[in-house]
Subunit: 148 residues, 2 copies
Amino acid sequence: MSANSRLTIAIHILTWMALVGRKRPDPVTSNRIALSVNTNPVVIRRILGRLSKKGLVRSHRGANAGWVLAKPPRAITLRDVYDALGEGPSFALHAATPNQACPVGRGIRPALTRVYDSLDGVLRTHLARTTIEDVLADTLRRPNLKRT
Amino acid sequence: MSANSRLTIAIHILTWMALVGRKRPDPVTSNRIALSVNTNPVVIRRILGRLSKKGLVRSHRGANAGWVLAKPPRAITLRDVYDALGEGPSFALHAATPNQACPVGRGIRPALTRVYDSLDGVLRTHLARTTIEDVLADTLRRPNLKRT
DNA sequence: TTTGATGTAACTATGCTTGTTACATCGAAG
DNA sequence: CTTCGATGTAACAAGCATAGTTACATCAAA
């Protein structure tokens, strides 16, 4: 395990907002969200800021400030969330430039870039098939079940 | 950029071994490989150790020691390499356990685990379609071409 | 004008990654 | 059976990313 948890936090935030939004359409504060995620409100706001730039949520200021979903949960796919975070690819190229005097050292980076770009495409296509509404439904599915 | 480069290094190693193995089937040392990758031989040996445990390469000791591919390059897929490295999933769950008193906090982890496991499956299926031989061919494809 | 939350900068603790040194172990060659 | 070069692994350091935290300027509705 080494990857970051920003996608997880982002999906958690949106899923929570989708659930709360079912009852009341009022803005929710980063503080309340942080209570569910169990982290600092600033961490929540940092991620909401990115989601906001991509039009997935909107922020309100002044009295009764907070955040609201900019679209219905069924119109937000995990690919939208992934793209909004703007993370790089899952696999890094060499830390140091490989030996350019070697045919493999010279050609491997373009070749691997193609492989990794293709992977990212597959990943995003797959993520596009699940919406926040789907995640919410799956999240609520087993509230009281215990596995033996 | 935050991910590690171990998959890149591993593919580089195997691709280089495939190229060298075309001429001579002799074992190659981690030192020579490190010259192409441009890193320390210990980094190479660490990764070769993992590949060895999964039967992708074999090591020889004593005089004329070194490493050889255990299979022809066309029989080694990138999925084999990925699995041999035994890396965790690309996306981490929450650093801190979410609030279990909240329905979303309680159910989100299993839901996301399913999403991430499914993603990993798609990823590995896609990786299985490319072999070391493919990567080598693509690596050697454009030896002298310059892009404008 | 007051008030409460946003939005962001700055700093810290922690952990992962990569590079490096060191060294015990091995096994074929001579 | 000794030599010799490479494996295999432990241990440590530097650099970097992540997540958490404090602080504070900014904003807008009441």
